[in-house]
């Protein structure tokens, strides 16, 4: 089996464009959550907060590449460009059929899908459909747009697994490069805000609704006063590379991926459960051939929901007790859904590099049902050699990835 390393990172997040903005926002304890005035007209919507990312410089992407991109694909293309530049890879110097991308999202562009439905359902006039509308709506929209834009001709795939999409993309990329079938894969995810996206959580009362007038105070992962998640948007892309390929070109190596696992809960369509999370994490540790005490930091999924945080805390407590520091980055930038695994993994890579663990924003007092684990309340200086990243999704999907500092 080949060893797989991460040699590049790029992100568009609610905290700004680029990895530096992401880390500055996290380090300074900034909240990107705001009140969404534009959602006031939606009847029945309880949550009116979100963490938007800024769409900018999109015209730097040539029109014929951009026309098939919805908002999330533009985020993905920009994050992919950043990651590629960061890796120093020149695409023309990689064997064409050995470099591709795996980029996931919950759906295609929610904004474009909404516009297409408006035309089809209300105007009922197909001549009003732009030629590229479908390419913005497809579930693999981010992957194909990045591949076309950058000219990637190896594997092009999309993992559509809601909030686990990008961690599944990275895990799948790890497995494919491990198997020797690809040398380089740009992996990650993308997502965009839309009332229908927040609405999908709102209808099952999983969103935060008590902090509409004080948006910076929510979400509150693991906190006793948490009341639900807040949707964010953006894209995170990492460059995965065969270790020997990376060494040959003298690449900077952030970390090695040493373990991955994903599984279904078989328990409930919307509620996560600790038993399957335990099974998922243990599978990732087994895959990495390490014991729980070798994990230095756990970057939790913890979105701030009543039920999900409790189950994740229970699983962490069962496997790690209260020894391993745990934090969630959702308090800073909300839940970037299909992009969250990649964006938050990138933050982990930079924390590893810097030797500091950043705390969970808005975690003032751990809830009793989330206690018994080592919550990080303020920045902790520590050598981080091995990190566990968790992601869980609607549908009972769990994913866990283990990275080791190179």
């Amino acid at each position: 089996m080949k060893r797989v390393v991460i040699t590049g990172a790029g992100s568009i997040s609610p905290l700004g464009s680029g990895v530096r903005s992401l880390m500055e926002g996290i380090a300074s304890g900034t909240s990107a959550v705001r009140y969404m005035e534009e959602w006031a007209g939606y009847c029945g919507m309880n949550s009116h907060v979100a963490a938007p990312a800024e769409l900018k410089d999109e015209k730097k992407i040539p029109r014929q590449s951009r026309r098939s991109m919805g908002r999330m694909s533009i985020f993905a293309a920009q994050a992919a460009e950043q990651a590629l530049a960061d890796s120093g890879i020149n695409i023309s110097q990689v064997q064409p059929d050995r470099m591709g991308c795996i980029i996931g999202s919950t759906t295609g562009s929610a904004i474009s899908i909404s516009k297409a439905f408006e035309i089809m359902l209300f105007k009922k006039d197909l001549s009003l459909l732009p030629s590229s509308m479908f390419f913005q709506c497809m579930s693999h929209s981010a992957a194909i747009n990045v591949a076309q834009y950058l000219g990637l001709t190896g594997y092009v795939m999309a993992t559509s697994a809601a909030c686990a999409s990008s961690l599944q993309a990275i895990g799948t990329g790890f497995e494919i490069i491990s198997s020797g079938k690809q040398d380089v894969l740009l992996c990650g995810g993308a997502e965009e805000l839309h009332p229908s996206v927040t609405g999908s959580f709102d209808v099952v009362f999983a969103t935060s609704s008590k902090y509409n007038q004080t948006p910076h105070q929510t979400p509150r992962p693991f906190d006793k006063d948490r009341d639900g998640l807040v949707c964010g948007e953006g894209s995170g892309i990492v460059v995965l590379e065969d270790y020997e390929h990376a060494v040959r070109r003298n690449a900077k190596i952030y970390a090695e991926i040493i373990g991955y696992n994903t599984c279904g809960s078989g328990a409930h369509i919307s509620q996560s459960d600790d038993k399957s999370i335990i099974r998922c994490i243990k599978g990732a540790l087994n895959n990495a051939e390490i014991t729980p005490d070798e994990i230095d930091y756990i970057n939790a999924h913890a979105t701030g929901t009543i039920q999900g945080d409790k189950e994740e805390a229970s699983a962490i407590r069962e496997i790690f007790g209260d020894t391993v520091p745990v934090s969630s980055l959702k308090g800073h930038m909300g839940h970037t859904l299909g992009a969250s695994g990649a964006i938050e993994l990138i933050a982990c890579l930079l924390m590893m590099d810097k030797g500091v663990i950043y705390p969970t924003l808005n975690l003032d007092e751990a809830a009793s049902d989330c206690s018994g684990i080592n919550h990080v309340a303020k920045p902790v200086k520590k050598e981080i050699r091995t990190v566990l990243k968790n992601c869980f999704a609607f549908g009972g999907i769990n994913a866990a990835l283990v990275c080791r500092k190179h």
């Binding site: 029109r63 014929q64 026309r67 001549s127 732009p130 030629s131």
Partner: protein
């Protein structure tokens, strides 16, 4: 609608829908080789011309013969005259 109005409206479609600079919009400009449009763009061009001129040209066979901006000006002019 006079000839100049047809030229101005058509050129505006190319500027706004296809982000083509005004100084490249010469009557003899070939819409594929000079202005860089492709088959998908033609779908959007037809939709934009329909909206801008209030005409229905989606199923017009003559659309397939359009090669230059001048061809479009003449085509729209003819369609408008037929409409009158």
């Amino acid at each position: 609608m006079n000839e100049q109005e047809i030229i101005d409206i058509t050129n505006k479609v190319f500027e706004e829908s296809f982000e083509i600079e005004k100084d490249r919009l010469k009557p003899e400009a070939h819409i594929f080789t000079d202005l860089g449009l492709d088959s998908l763009d033609i779908v959007d061009l037809v939709a934009a011309l329909q909206k801008s001129f209030g005409v229905n040209i989606r199923n017009e066979e003559k659309v397939r013969n359009i090669r230059t901006l001048q061809d479009i000006y003449q085509f729209i002019s003819a369609i408008k005259k037929e409409g009158q």
